[in-house]
């Protein structure tokens, strides 16, 4: 009991000022790397990352969540926040995302055989992010629609709450194939585990991803600007993002 009380006291006092960032789940690995670079450069700051679907971040910020910086996977959510008075800065694009068809290597499926591969007998479930609040899910839906396949495969969908959860459905074997962000497949773990095929960009609307400082974020300009630094841009490129104003 005494031990636990000591812990309580400990936790009440160790509470540093932090930069709290809510980011779309496709940034799971890229932003982690950028945050580490930033903290190496400015050790007095602590960057805390919270990942989820862009729609969830939008809703939580409107409800008063104490996030300072918001990275959406599209422009829509950041622009709405700005218009509704929940953001300090006019939203800026930081990257353009791509979606891929992804399978586990041990599934024996060939993603480049898209779209026929969806009708392989071994494919029982198809993972896709919920297009209601995940921009990558929306793009995947658009792509399937432009192939004229959406209604033919939708019975086999398993919906991820965000794009990272969608990926975990495939890695855990709950689905044999799925649509995820290119940036996720570039993480060491997924790179080893699976194979992907890039869906041509003309099959869906461009996934222009924007970010902003929320009304809670008072002293986070340094981090906000760091995202546009050459160091940070290198990381985005490494994870397969196209940068705004650049050709792929």
């Amino acid at each position: 009991m005494l031990f636990l009380l000591t812990l309580l006291v400990f936790f009440t006092f160790v509470k540093a000022e932090v930069i709290r960032v809510f980011a779309a789940a496709d940034l799971q690995y890229a932003l982690r790397e950028i945050a580490e670079l930033y903290m190496k450069k400015y050790p007095e700051d602590k960057v805390e990352l919270i990942f989820g679907s862009s729609g969830k971040g939008y809703a939580q910020i409107k409800a008063g969540a104490p996030y300072h910086v918001f990275f959406s996977a599209d422009m829509k959510y950041v622009e709405s926040l700005y218009k509704e008075g929940y953001a300090l800065k006019e939203p800026k694009p930081y990257a353009i995302g791509r979606i891929v068809v992804w399978v586990r290597r041990d599934s024996g499926l060939d993603p480049s055989q898209f779209p026929q591969v969806l009708f392989d007998k071994r494919v029982r479930k198809i993972a896709i992010a919920n297009w209601e609040h995940a921009p990558y899910g929306r793009a995947a839906k658009e792509a399937l629609e432009s192939y004229g396949l959406f209604d033919k495969v939708k019975d086999r969908f398993v919906l991820g709450e965000n794009i990272a959860q969608t990926a975990s459905y495939i890695t855990s074997g709950a689905a044999e194939i799925g649509f995820i962000a290119l940036s996720l497949t570039k993480s060491p773990k997924l790179e080893k585990m699976g194979r992907y095929w890039l869906i041509p960009e003309d099959k869906h609307k461009r996934i222009v991803q924007g970010y902003t400082i929320t009304k809670e974020g008072k002293n986070v300009d340094r981090f906000y600007q760091f995202v546009e630094s050459s160091e940070a841009r290198k990381v985005f490129v490494k994870y397969g993002f196209v940068l705004p104003g650049e050709k792929p």
Binding site: L4, L7, L8, F11, V14, K15, V18, R20, A25, Q28, E48, I50, F51, G52, Q60, A63, G64, A65, P66, N162, A164, Q165, A167, S168, T171, S172, K189, L190
Partner: protein
Amino acid sequence: MIDLGALWLTIKLSLITSLILLVVGIPLAYYMAYSKSPFALILEVITTLPLVLPPTVLGFYLLILFSRNSPLGSLLENLLGLRLLFTFEGLVVASVIYSLPMMTHPLISGYRSVPKNLIEASWTLGKSKLETLIRVILPNMKSSILVGLVLSFTHTLGEFGVVLMVGGNIEGQTRVASIVIYNAVEAIDYKTAHIYSAALLLLSFFSLVALYLINRRWFL
């Protein structure tokens, strides 16, 4: 090295929650156990609701209630500077509501298990209801109190749906063990998920072992 901060946060949350519930539960359950008014029955139903409601329903209502745009939310923030949404304090309030039946149910049956004769004997010996409660009723339902404490502690340990709705996922504030497990699985970090899951499993297991051990010794 895996960060165990969220585990300690969870234990802290569960401890604070069960202690608050004990203080709240003793008078509340007393009223529900002994009052014959129809309001007591309605209250018993209301306090049981968190047991049967999906946590997301509870979470949704709390989200609306705690929001800065709601009368309660704005009152608390303007008057006390207290914010309940996405904060540890809010998580404590939510957990207290979420685990309320885990405390009130054992306490109510504890109260009802104390023979009416003992209470009446205390009254005829000139002791007030409060003194009777402290000196006769509570000491004779120690095991129910312990059951209430352990159940509300373990129930809060595993809280997920409500936290997800009103807590968000903020390190040191609302990132509790169950959220860490959820995130770790999403990030395909099975090592963290395993460690946290095992920790919760063991913690719950040994809390219950302690409960059963103490109960046996009290009854034999």
